[in-house]
Symmetry: C2
Subunit: 480 residues, 2 copies
């Protein structure tokens, strides 16, 4: 996939953020196979040979996002060599596009002054991303090297909790008073120095004297309206406003639901303080949606660039938790030790009941967690969802029970076939119930349902699987 994407895309060089007149001499680069193994090998050979000129020539045509990818594909000890060979290509954009872990490594290797210089090239939101994970002392050292204005903007962002709109928003936006005409606005935009306007903006916010948003104009509406028309006649008064305290998941859901390209961020008193744009939200949504699969599996951050130590700490917790639940299931087996001694077929068959139950529970749990994340499952329809899953579970349970029941009846004996079929049906229905109930309960307790649901659902399906199967075997007299 990676290769295909690079092959099909026409790569872009140059700095997107430049003012109009910088853009003229960009060249188009559509050579194929840029980050394919062959290309990577050439870069590596040049790095090893210490041929900085060749490295530079190879990397120079890349888009900053591709340079960032190149860093990630190299080994950790090759990265400083690359950085040294292409210093003047190491734009803020490259740094901003780097994977968090790779970036933190590189930043730690640099002097505070050098980091400050990079941070000053960036938009505030990217600079914040650069600094937010550093040790407080390192952060302070870097901030001390920055221009007071940039520092203040970054400090104000860092004052908001991580993953909130206040932390993520861009502080650069265009806001104008309501009394302007379209012509006034165009003149204002033409006359204002480039560096006083945001590098990218897609709508102009109209504000009242208290700086509260009263409306918004998409740039296309402005371009299509005669100069003499008042902005108040062009703007749309209804707009989606993002509270500065909104969590990033909430922001992502708002962009998705209302198909936004950009939106105003307002503080507690309703004043316009920033904007969020869809290109940033795309990252948030991808992160949030991808997170569930990692959280449900207990893989923590789950980034392949995460230091091994962190990956170990994140994962071993869940393995130990799972060890606890497995021990619970084991004690249930131990209760039936005598029965197993008499009929070893029970030991052979019992993992099947537990395993399929676990699988069915995971299916339902995944659907539930996803529905909660997408705001599709609320108090209003939880009961309907539960009822729906019960019916799916009955159908699934009946199917699997018949299959395993017949196989067991043929291989062992008919009575044992009945026992395992009944146990399987019961366990799959229990799994369906737990798969909805566990994440919903976590959600109601204000816990992320993706984080710990798995451990509980597995414990329930394992324990129930062993208990129902072994218990039914004993109760039905099949053990003899």
């Amino acid at each position: 996939m990676a290769d295909e994407q690079i092959m099909d895309a026409e790569l872009r060089a140059g700095d997107e953020a430049g003012r109009p007149d910088d853009r003229i001499d960009d060249e188009r680069h559509d050579e194929e196979n840029r980050l394919k193994p062959g290309y990577l090998r050439s870069v590596r050979e040049a790095l090893e040979a210490g041929d900085k000129g060749r490295v530079y020539d190879l990397v120079e045509p890349l888009h900053p996002a591709d340079v960032a990818d190149l860093f990630e594909l190299l080994e950790a000890d090759e990265r400083p060599l690359l950085a040294a060979a292409i210093t003047d290509l190491m734009s803020g954009e490259v740094i901003a596009e780097l994977n968090d872990h790779v970036r933190d490594d590189m930043i730690e290797a640099l002097a505070p002054g050098a980091v400050a210089e990079i941070a000053e090239q960036l938009d505030t939101d990217d600079a914040v991303q650069l600094l937010e994970d550093l040790e407080p002392a390192d952060q302070a050292a870097i901030l001390a090297e920055m221009e007071p204005e940039d520092r203040a903007a970054i400090e104000s962002a860092l004052a908001y909790p991580e993953e909130t709109a206040g932390r993520l928003m861009s502080r650069a936006f265009v806001a104008v008073p309501e009394h302007l005409t379209v012509g006034d606005l165009i003149d204002f935009l033409r006359d204002t120095q480039g560096d006083e306007l945001p590098t990218d903006f897609w709508e102009v916010f109209v504000v009242d004297p208290a700086h509260k948003p009263v409306g918004t104009c998409q740039l296309s509406w402005i371009l299509r309206t005669p100069r003499h028309i008042a902005l108040s006649d062009v703007m749309k008064r209804d707009q989606t406003l993002i509270p500065v305290t909104a969590d990033q998941e909430e922001v992502g859901n708002m962009f998705q639901k209302y198909a936004l390209i950009s939106a105003a961020v307002v503080d507690e008193s309703g004043r316009l303080v920033g904007q969020m744009t869809a290109d940033d939200v795309v990252h948030i949504i991808s992160e949030e949606a991808g997170e569930d699969v990692l959280l449900l599996s207990g893989a923590g951050d789950g980034d392949i660039n995460e230091p091994i130590r962190d990956a170990y700490v994140a994962r071993v917790r869940w393995l130990v938790a799972n060890l606890g639940t497995a021990v619970v299931a084991s004690t249930i087996i131990a209760l039936f030790g005598a029965a197993i001694e008499k009929l070893v077929a029970l030991a052979v068959l019992m993992p099947i009941v537990a395993s399929i139950g676990g699988n069915a529970g995971t299916q339902t749990m995944a659907v539930t967690v996803r529905a909660i994340a997408m705001n599709q499952l609320t108090r209003a329809n939880t009961r309907r969802m539960l009822w729906r899953e019960m019916r799916v579970a009955l159908a699934n349970g009946a199917t699997v029970a018949v299959l395993i029941g017949i196989a067991t009846a043929l291989l062992f004996n008919p009575q044992l076939g009945l026992v395992i079929a009944a146990a399987m049906l019961i366990n799959i229905v229990v799994a369906g119930f737990a798969g909805v109930a566990v994440p919903v309960i976590f959600e109601r307790l204000d816990q992320d349902p993706a984080v710990a649901s798995s451990v509980f659902v597995t414990m329930i399906t394992d324990s129930m699987g062993f208990f129902v199967f072994l218990g039914l075997a004993v109760a039905s007299g099949v053990v003899g």
Copy 2:
């Protein structure tokens, strides 16, 4: 979450798609708690009482996306009642925002002429979404009722495979020749009738006489440039072009990597044929990223609105596949039946080894599947990833082995403690290997690694868990 979002957002009414002068009399609606249970109860009561006027008054202030949510929250038999009560609020936008399953149900209940009328209100991409899942005969009947021009556009979209740029792109965009000045462009936009321009656009594409893109101008650049400047001096020549055949996952990755707001779609000969915008891509990314958790768990589509029958078919397949793998694991247990008869502790402990191994394998698999989806894992770094996971697995395995080894030594006997510790370590390392290798192999075979990896990884960890533990127990003579 759903309630919070509604509470915090200022809801917007009115049609975004309107021309500037329609926008004036929109009102701002920021009443809180719109779709909270209380609101829903009021709508339900009014529906039950047959009080259409009250239903209309309740629904009228909602944003179309919220109306769509309301439909989804109602029971299937209440939805037609709501539709009947608010016919003139049933805009194309409401229909476009509906969940696929809910929409298909509603569309099937309508006459082809009525559907055609709705489809004609929509942008081509939304109309395509409306029609693509219908039976060919229904589709043809609806297309026959449409204006020839709209029909042709939809048919051309349907000619591309599902989930490709050609199917998803918007066919409305602004493309102009290179020789224009900024002033010419603004005059062109002002003079062109509203319905001949796209409702939303964020950049203007500059094309050569063969209609191939030569550059792009963000609207903000145009607004900030004096009228006499040539477009060729404002435009950026480098741009990301999306091939019409690109898969939606690829499109999502391009938007994410290059932080795009919109991008040109080109056909095989490089001619500009459409555009994709970030608001559509946001849906794609959310769908693609969320899909993994559902696919890995074997939950299929995993939509809570999916008909029960479809959910059953999607999920039972994986349960039956898992039944097969569980039977494989069982036959391994059966090989050691005599040992279990002698030492029933083996039956008590063996599921622990299999279960933790399965858990560890799932963690690694989730990380691998996510890395593949994000284009982070390529041939260039697979070996490094594998080596990394092996080290994490050794650390995890050692930790869990010590814990379970000590517990077993105390509760049973030291020799059995050593056996289970060794089996646990081996199974977790095997799990780490399988968790990387299985998805990577599926990827290289051009199969979606999220789809079937789970079944294979579980089979490996279950079978190895039983085999190593029981085998070591017999070989070490602990059975006696």
